[in-house]
Symmetry: C2
Subunit: 320 residues, 2 copies
Amino acid sequence: MPLSEFELIRRFFSPPAGRADVLLGVGDDCALLAAPAGYALAVSIDTLVEGTHFLRGVDPESLGHKALAVSLSDLAAMGAQPAWATLALTLPDSDDLWLEAFSRGFSGLASAQGVELVGGDITRGPRSVSVQAHGFVKPERALRRRGASPGELIYVTGTLGEAGLALLALQGLYVPPEGFSQAIQRLERPRPRVAEGLALCGLATAAIDISDGLAADLGHILEASDVGATVCVEQIPLARSVRTYLRETGDRNLPLSAGDDYELCITVPADRQSEVERLGSTFDCGLTWIGAIETQRGLRCRLDDGQPMELRSGGFDHFG
Amino acid sequence: MPLSEFELIRRFFSPPAGRADVLLGVGDDCALLAAPAGYALAVSIDTLVEGTHFLRGVDPESLGHKALAVSLSDLAAMGAQPAWATLALTLPDSDDLWLEAFSRGFSGLASAQGVELVGGDITRGPRSVSVQAHGFVKPERALRRRGASPGELIYVTGTLGEAGLALLALQGLYVPPEGFSQAIQRLERPRPRVAEGLALCGLATAAIDISDGLAADLGHILEASDVGATVCVEQIPLARSVRTYLRETGDRNLPLSAGDDYELCITVPADRQSEVERLGSTFDCGLTWIGAIETQRGLRCRLDDGQPMELRSGGFDHFG
């Protein structure tokens, strides 16, 4: 017998009593939440749709993780401390095993990040997941897109291109070498750079998370800040799998255009270089200099020998 | 040429600068919002899916209105003052005319209720809409589901069953008489009872909005409050179209089981009867006594002559 909508929410998604700032959680018309004084509430909503953002038959536990991760990544890019999440889940049927696994992935990341699920809606239809993440940040310390100035340095956390390479492999467009499972993990279980975003508050002048590719997302910083930039493509930090791919194919475009890495791209004043590099050296994922902000608008890429490199694609755009 | 995701959001959904508590609206990784001190933040997320909640080919302006209305109705049922909304829209294609009409319906209701759209995500896939509404309520005044006590009176705003009757007509299961357009409006353009919910704070002991049918939704109050109730079915306020339908078909079940009316069902202590009825007389939509809370668990329906009436259905449940 299929479970009712209410039972589904109760059974799989009622979190253990947790945060003191959740006055009323799942189960009433609204959740009631107490935001701390002196902080702005940072909110971001993201949807993952089957066939667009994930393949049919995706591991539900990974999907549960990723649906929350992509929204937490937006909080990370604002330098906000995650607190609460809401979940709108649309499913073609009520498959207990699927829901249990999805819930395990979602709840695992939620617990790790101290996030409480406070509300949800489960409906019937083509499979998709929307998650809204809610966090706190002092408004004057929030990392916006529009703070970059000419002369500033550009850094990224972690490595780029590995999630995109995994997608190519899953689509059968790239035959991966042995030991490719880390790349698949990058695609399916992105780790939002929450701690890194918090640490960069007060130091970075602008930030964004790289969900649509470095070129596209850095482009948003440039546009919002009314500046341009040059990226030194050979400085972009790459995982071993992507280095192998580049050696084999010569496709330098992948780390610039591939989405789904959920690393942070930030800008920092040049006179705080040693400070940011000292901080970056404490990040498990690392923090790497890749270029500089310039007055001339637009994004330019160049090789270490000074030669320009042409960008092939502006990044991922569902309606492009 | 199709619009890009970012242009879509900017073009159709960037609201005019409005609320002072929106520190940063659409266009960055997160919105930054300033919740007022001393209030709880009330949040609710709801999804409408094509084929489940609305028919293919539905008027997009009505859908834009309704998607926001159903979430505002949840705020109304908590007695919260609406403030902000986020929108996750999934569309099979980028149809400018469709988006313009959807946005008109959404923005019209948003303006009327003083709500600002602060964030969104537009993705490609089977058509669906998730809206999260955010409002403010003093936590001690919030209308929860669990406050009803034996001896209290049950009231509903407006009239019931008309949206359900319109759905029957649209599905070809009922041939409507002349002048049925008001019923279609009830289904397609529900009016969230925000002002009524606010006015009932401090007077109602429990409240819920009727989205799944009176029996199901009152059932949630009863379950949460650990009480039962008797509803006098002939006292349920009905629009003319539903009275006609009842005369023609004898189906007394419709006003109890049909969803989508988005009226409020509340409970009030018996010694505040004159106070609540005085207040209700100021509501354009009216406020009508329909029954009483009792110690004995479960929901009983009876006719004015005292005869019991059996309920046919527990209300709408997507996974039932």
